[in-house]
Each structure stands twice: as C-alpha cells, then as structure tokens.
Amino acid sequence: MKQGFLAALTGLGLLLTAWPAMAHHSFAAEYDSNNLITLTGVITRVDWTNPHMYIHIDVKDAGGKVSSWSLEGYPPNTLKRTGFARASLKEGDTITITAYKSKDGSNTGAGREVTFSDGSKKFAGPEGR
C-alpha cells in the first residue's frame, strides 16, 4: 500500500522536485501553494542573501496606488547553479513574477517564475508544495 503510494508519486514525476527544495523551512507552513498570484512591478531592491534571496518590487494597481512586495527565492548559490544571472535583476527594471502568497497576510510570497522585460523567463524559487 505504502509502496504503491510512493510508486504513484514517482510516476507523477514528483521525484525531481521532492528532495527538500528549501534547506531550512517547510513551504506549506508559510506559503499557500494553491494561491499563485502574478505581480508586475518595478524592482526597488534585491537581497542576495541566505537562506533565501528576496526581490522587492513596487506594484501599481489600476487606480495608481503603489504597494510594495517582497518575494522569496532560492539561495544565491542555487540560483547561480541554475543559471539565474545576478545581473538579470536590476533596480528600476520592470518584471513580472508569479508567487505563492504568504499565509500571514503580508505582501510577501514565495517567488516562482520571473518574466524579464525582454520576455525571457527563469524560475526564482520552487514549485508550491
């Protein structure tokens, strides 16, 4: 029964993302994997820090009101090894980023896919789980 369950998971292709994606905390306790939002905004700061990097963006709504968001990503070393160029995130650039919204109600989330101004895309963080 248990083996069947594991085999089923493997069959679903989960094996590639199932090794702990984050070294130091659980995803589900902080972020809602069922609430993937899309934000477009101007980069105000990038923290190349551990245990996670953070992209800070200002997002303007339809009425012109600006709200500031902070999106978590993989550690800098991991991003380097997945080919996420540090130079690709510059203050003042406009990006679109998908993110799993934080469960604490704040303007934070687990960043997933960044779309750069030239249309190219790159994952900044793991798939929700």
Binding site: L16, A23, P51, N77, T78
Partner: protein
C-alpha cells in the same frame, strides 16, 4: 498532520527514486534518447582505499532540474541502487511529543545545524576530503563540517560533550567507509517534522563508491530512549558538474520564522 505525512512520504519517494532519474527527465516530457551507463573502476587513493574525495550532492534543483527547466549540467545516467529503508518507530510517550511539534519548532528554521543524518538530505553540495588518517566532510548547507578520524576500533574520545553533529570516527570495511557517530545533543531532528531523539542516539553510516560514478550512502539510527527499532535511510549521491561548495550563512536574513508564526496565529484564529 496528513500533509506532514505526505510531505515526509514525498521526501522518502525522492530518496528512493532519485538515483534512477535520467538527465533531463521531468514533467516537461523529455524524449532524449537513453544514454548507456558508463562503468569504470572506482578511484583509489595511494593507500589503495576507495577515494571518496570530491564534491557530492544528493538532490536539489541545481542538479535535478525541474519542470520546464532542466539542469544546466545534466548528470549521466547511473544504475539503480536500491536503498534499504526502515521507518521511524517511536515509543508511545515520544510519539505523542513528536506529534505535538510543528515545523515552527524545527531547529533548522532558526538556522541551527541539522545534525546527522539529516544534514545529508539538504539540497546542496558537500565535499569529502580523504586522507589515510581522517575523512572530512564539508557541507555547504549550514556551513556544517564533520571530522572523521579513522580508527579500526571505532573508539570515541572519552570527554565528549553533547553537540549538534556529534562525534564521528570511521573505519574501512572492505571498500565501504563506515562512520560511527555518538555524542549528540537532543535538539536536532532525525529526518523531518518532530523527529526527536535523545542524547543516546547512535548513527552508523556506510559510504560505498559505485562503478557508475555515484556514491551510495546508508544511515542506521539507533536510539534506545525514544525509538523501538532502528531507523534506516539512505541516498545515492552524484558528483555534480562544475559545482564547488560555497558559503551559506543561513542566519544572514531569515524573516521566515516571523512569517510562519503569524501564519499559524491567523490559522488558529480562523478555526
């Protein structure tokens, strides 16, 4: 709770399945032609022992890739290496304590050392440095390090004080490097959520090079205080291409505990 069990099971599935993962395999659907597994004699040190020296990694997106983003340097295929596993079995009084703990209690959330064997399951590389007298493991994750002096009787110093990573000694059992670790504190977790142990935890690891370039790792965890039988886990480590261990100062910028605490409070007030 079921989510926790599922998460644990998924991790377990990964540990089982990872070695069989072919390069570029994933949900993106890859029809790359299967490459043959290349076999060659395992590397040996000047003293004739298998040479474990090098950078190794068990998992993580940088070597496995993910849906829509294959790894920059796909690893060559390897043979399947079955992994022996025995589940965690807690005495009833400790099972209750274990269940009362949540991910908010996880020491690694505060950037504290994961202990052994958990350090081996972090999604980052480690480097093994082997000499005839000592094996050293440098982990990128949590900047952990382990000194493993080699002595055939596996004698530990008699002045141990409890620590997160314990005291390790090693010996060669044929071509397998056996590591015996005691002297733990009771603060780290064995595997995942709430998997507590006592200061009496005893971990025996076996490191064996395979002739397909991979490294098999198995850990047996005994704890006469909290467990009813040994817990056994393992993984197949790969030599990641163009990777060296680098700094990971976890405490640098860690807003996660505060977010999680607030999320838990909100969750509670909504019930």
């Amino acid at each position: 709770m079921s989510a926790r069990i599922a998460s644990f099971a998924i991790t377990a599935a990964a540990l089982i399945a990872l070695p069989a993962a072919a390069p570029g395999q994933g949900r993106g659907g890859d029809k790359a032609p299967a490459q043959p597994v290349v076999h060659k004699p395992i590397p040996r040190a000047a003293d004739g022992k298998p040479d474990l020296t090098g950078t190794w990694q068990g998992g993580g997106v940088s070597i496995t890739g993910e849906a829509g983003a294959p790894p920059l340097h796909p690893l060559p295929p390897i043979d399947p290496h079955p992994i022996r596993r025995e589940p965690l079995a807690y005495k009833p009084e400790f099972e209750a304590k274990r269940k009362s703990l949540t991910t908010l209690d996880d020491p690694t959330l505060q950037c504290l050392l994961p202990g052994v064997p958990r350090i081996q399951t972090m999604p980052m590389p480690l480097e093994i440095v082997q000499t005839p007298k000592e094996v050293v493991i440098l982990h990128e994750a949590f900047r952990a390090w382990r000194r493993i002096p080699i002595n055939d009787k596996l004698t530990h110093p008699d002045d141990l004080v409890p620590t997160w990573m314990g005291d390790s000694v090693g010996r060669w059992d044929g071509d397998t490097f056996v590591v015996d670790t005691i002297g733990f504190n009771d603060k780290s977790w064995i595997a995942g959520n709430g998997t507590i142990h006592s200061e009496k935890m005893h971990v025996v690891e076996r490191y064996t090079l395979n002739n397909d370039g991979s490294l098999s790792w198995e850990a047996t965890v005994e704890d006469p205080v909290v467990l009813t039988k040994p817990y056994v886990t393992g993984a197949t480590l790969r030599a990641p291409i163009d990777v060296r261990i680098e700094e990971y100062e976890c405490i640098e910028n860690n807003p996660d505990p505060a977010h999680m605490k607030k999320a838990a409070e909100l969750d509670k007030s909504n019930k």
